[in-house]
Symmetry: C3
Amino acid sequence: MNASWETFTAVPPADKLDFFRKDGRLYDCLFAQQFDRALLDRLCALADHMRLITKERAGDDFLRGLLADKRAMLYFSQPSTRTFLSHMSACHILGLRVMETRDLKTSSEVKGESLDDTIRTFASYVDLIIMRHHGAGVAERAAWVLNRSPRPVPVINAGSGPDEHPTQALLDVYSLQRYLGTVDGKHIVMVGDLKRGRTVRSLSQLMGNYKGVRLSFAAPDAFRMAPDILEFLKRRGVPYRETSDLDSALSDADAVYMTRIQDEHDKDGESGRVDTGPFKLDRARMALLPERTVVMHPLPRREEIPAELDDDPRIVIFRQERNGMWARAALIAHIFGLEERVLAYRRPS
Amino acid sequence: MNASWETFTAVPPADKLDFFRKDGRLYDCLFAQQFDRALLDRLCALADHMRLITKERAGDDFLRGLLADKRAMLYFSQPSTRTFLSHMSACHILGLRVMETRDLKTSSEVKGESLDDTIRTFASYVDLIIMRHHGAGVAERAAWVLNRSPRPVPVINAGSGPDEHPTQALLDVYSLQRYLGTVDGKHIVMVGDLKRGRTVRSLSQLMGNYKGVRLSFAAPDAFRMAPDILEFLKRRGVPYRETSDLDSALSDADAVYMTRIQDEHDKDGESGRVDTGPFKLDRARMALLPERTVVMHPLPRREEIPAELDDDPRIVIFRQERNGMWARAALIAHIFGLEERVLAYRRPS
Amino acid sequence: MNASWETFTAVPPADKLDFFRKDGRLYDCLFAQQFDRALLDRLCALADHMRLITKERAGDDFLRGLLADKRAMLYFSQPSTRTFLSHMSACHILGLRVMETRDLKTSSEVKGESLDDTIRTFASYVDLIIMRHHGAGVAERAAWVLNRSPRPVPVINAGSGPDEHPTQALLDVYSLQRYLGTVDGKHIVMVGDLKRGRTVRSLSQLMGNYKGVRLSFAAPDAFRMAPDILEFLKRRGVPYRETSDLDSALSDADAVYMTRIQDEHDKDGESGRVDTGPFKLDRARMALLPERTVVMHPLPRREEIPAELDDDPRIVIFRQERNGMWARAALIAHIFGLEERVLAYRRPS
């Protein structure tokens, strides 16, 4: 497509989408904007189907056979137990063997190898690269390098730099759809550090794919949702309101998406100067919530959802976490062109 | 069973046993007291059977199919090559896929996640958690948390804090039974740092399950067997004697269980002030040992069994080590309710 | 064979070969001298066959079944992403389950265990040990210890100390043969840090197995090929010339083997005092190269092959890298006596 990386990075995201697709489907999964409504619906249906057929051993064996001849690299330059295990489990469900590079000391980077060469080395041995990198744009760069090489393999971005974490957004949508029946017409309240939380940013963008969704953003002043997302919602016609009064938003919420204060991104201790009390759940606030409402969280959590509330069935945070495994398994099946074969599998009746 | 962890920890161990059992068998394996005579006999028979049927490829394939749809987490906050590899091999024998968390940096603990949440996260993705933790009671806590959650998975304690290491005790019993034919009526000499060695403590307790066992404890004064174990043996009617004269004990020993000085637990260098010479094996002491006697060691060893003695067939320390793999495979098969299916498998004649 | 390690190390390498063979084939793969012409031809043919039959899923399934009942240990005391992943992939191709010890902190070495005991512990659980160790002779020692033990398992040396890296030499020969059709009669130009590069040393030695090979060594004065290799080539009648004029050597080269300056072995910064410009490739030098010539590199590379040249089809460095996986898979199949079964497998026509 483009001769140089410099040219390519100047292309607007929307125009890049085709470059990361092949044969009418996703090839590299790099940013949440790649998920349109049709694809979200297909991936959610696929995840549901995979989840259901593995309830029987025969279905589990069927899935595990599909990619038993393939190998995946989990390349994580940033620690993330949850995202790592979730992707690894997704690979296992489809039978992929997994190799991991978690510790930078084990990498050839210590011998001065370029990241491009490291990525091409991974591609020499595996059929799929799942990567989480602290550098912005690194996953996209990896996919670009491989797509131009004689041995391309798909890249899944498991969190790259400050912005993109598309598979988290996918699992959040899958959880909303699973527990609310549909996302259309729902009122979703996002709470906490909305400014620096990758997940609420991506999820907000994906909400543009659904009809009649309303968003409420409840955040301390210092951590309000960033203007670029608000602009995006305006353009897409998604109604939202910002509030510092969480209680008022809870009473007609369909889903409450809690987040923790991301103090690791503090520049000079600003988190310490914020009163986060109004943005935590407790028994009083749970009493305001309708019975039908679900409480989600990307985890890890701190005190914004006290563990003593966990027995409340509306708090689905660990079920949401496990949904990530199914959503990622569906994504991998989609990338490898297995969607039809999986959906054609029926449980013996 | 109990509403709070505080209430639960106040329950005496013997009354907790049912909480960690399901469907008439072990569900969580947390402390050596969970092994009664009947269970020890069953697990030893199961380990033997698994070991024998894998001598043929068909038997190996059979076992590897049993849990091919399951995943295990090996969560080791403490380094332990041997215990780690042994459990991992046991998982492989039964076809489990294994994920590992060995390096604390890769854990969400760095983002301030509670241990309870980390454990529940593991349980979101896997079907079995095998954990070794430096904290006392942590494995029990993990099992308690999971048993009260909507997604319980079994927990195997692979060494927790200063006291419990039940699978080591199991492999020691299996080795005794395998090499002595039976444990009943045997004279077992334990040597070395009996005060701080987890393995000799647990093994001594398990000896209460056998008839006519006699124990000799040969240790430096500073590292004599602790009073709680001696009390336990008195209550259970297991005859023992303490001695600082190793030679006298060797001549009618059936098994000699050597241990190293655990100087990593020194408070102020007490190991350096002890003469350990009288508690080491050498050619002269081997000459005192009956032909039938086996010499065991939990490994790693230092100079208490010099490598130059390794060719002596009575020193079974590496065979004992490999027995750990079989004992753990048997334990996992038991926990997953596979005992009957495994025992029903017969080699083609 | 020999009672003590001291006696054994005094034996000349050529007389040790039998000790590391069993049943007429390699058992331990420790040094490049173990590869004679007949074995090199067999392993290259085997690698080719394995590569071809995995182009169909049925062939891949066939290979993955061969060692599905076996486990391998990858024990890497030195970081080496490439060699690690390549061996791991080779194991996966044959169905072996892999356990890894990459981080020394996880090892029992911290409790003062001897290397011999660590190796025997690995052998207690696995069927193959692939090791890379910073210590000279350590892999040979490991193989020697295991061969004298009641539970020997094969050892593959994946790089040991400053000298031996036999599987790299094997993959280099396989790449030469694959891209040049044959190694006989070819002119091979080795470039860069020939003094300290393990790969060019081993490859030069293996060239003694082929007829009519000519070697050119183009290196800065400070990093010329060491006298022991030059002596060896003289004895074997392999013509070579040393030059500091790379351009003159390129015009009739069949293969150019580039290497990086190994500055991690500097004693006092000697690399910084060398002008490496004359020993790098650029567009001008590529123009001197015949169309048929291949450019190889053991990787990681630095500036000696600029990435901007990568689109040139003569630069086969990433294909060479992937050949390492096939060469190692062939080696493992050979060690386990599977050569005939693999070659007998034919793709359905």
